[in-house]
């Protein structure tokens, strides 16, 4: 099967190398388009004025913070069941990017909250659960660097990630379950988005750009990890780096 073949570093390394420039190129195009639409085309909000432009960074970053975690959890589950080593490489590559998106979501949220809510921070359900997500990422990274044996590190990390999955629905539904300052979802709704296309389009384009950026960075990091792990392998010496 093609997936089993691709899971071998020997095949994944050149595959990732071929894919990377296309994904990165597409990422730059969508990023520039998203920034243009968000900063120049989208109108200011009638209530929030120009601060609404913070949304084009804040919301995609917040989506990515959860998306990356879900990807990590999926890979951890697959890795535990089928013992594919490449999933460990993937999960390790994901964690710093996931933490970065979470940090961006928290900081831009704070910069948006100050002028609109009148406070940098509030210990409410949405903000607190997102902060817990940051600690889950950092905890995973700390655990990985604390355990020397890579197999044990991967397994301990996987358990942490899988236990932490419980936080994802908490983040998503926090705005419905508790009374919070944070506004409820206006895009990921069962009855469809409730925001105008002039705002929705740049939001979705930026979200796509962030996703492509995530894929690019992960492919690059996985190539590095393979170079490190397989430095003595015959295939790498024959194939060339």
């Amino acid at each position: 099967m093609i997936f089993q073949k691709l899971a071998a570093p020997k095949y994944f390394y050149p595959f990732a190398g071929k894919l990377l420039p296309w994904v990165a190129g597409l990422c730059i195009i969508t990023l520039l388009t998203g920034l243009y639409l968000g900063l120049f085309v989208a109108p200011p909000d009638y209530q929030q004025g120009e601060t609404v432009r913070i949304m084009f960074v804040h919301v995609p970053a917040a989506w990515m913070s959860m998306f990356v975690y879900a990807m990590m959890a999926g890979a951890c589950a697959i890795g535990m069941v089928w013992k594919i080593r490449l999933t460990d490489t993937f999960v390790t590559a994901c964690a710093p990017i996931g933490a970065s998106f979470t940090l961006i979501a928290l900081l831009t949220g704070s910069l948006w909250g100050k002028p609109m809510w009148g406070t940098w921070w509030e210990w409410d359900a949405r903000l607190t659960s997102e902060l817990i997500l940051l600690f889950l990422y950092l905890g995973f990274m700390a655990l990985q660097s604390a355990i020397d044996d890579p197999r044990r590190a991967a397994r301990a990390g996987a358990i942490l990630v899988l236990v932490g999955v419980i936080n994802l629905p908490v983040i998503h539904y926090s705005v419905e379950w508790w009374n919070t300052l944070h506004q409820p979802a206006s895009v990921a709704r069962i009855d469809g988005p409730t925001i105008h296309s002039s705002i929705l389009t740049p939001l979705l384009v930026m979200a796509t750009a962030f996703k492509l950026l995530f894929v690019s960075i992960v492919l690059l990091k996985m190539r590095s990890a393979i170079l490190e792990n397989e430095a003595d392998s015959r295939w790498l010496q024959e194939q060339g780096v």
Binding site: T51, R53, S224, Q237
Partner: protein
Amino acid sequence: MNWASFFNMGGYAFYVWGSYAIATVVLVLNVWLPLRRYRKLKQTLKQRYETSS
């Protein structure tokens, strides 16, 4: 379009541009550091394979 009013962001320049600046710095680091590591690794291995063969 008026550039001064664009940069002023209706008086919210600090919050809007602050958000974009934070995102830019964090994401650029996420690209730059792995890229540097990859290039270093590649160079080291190339030299190693050349000397051993």
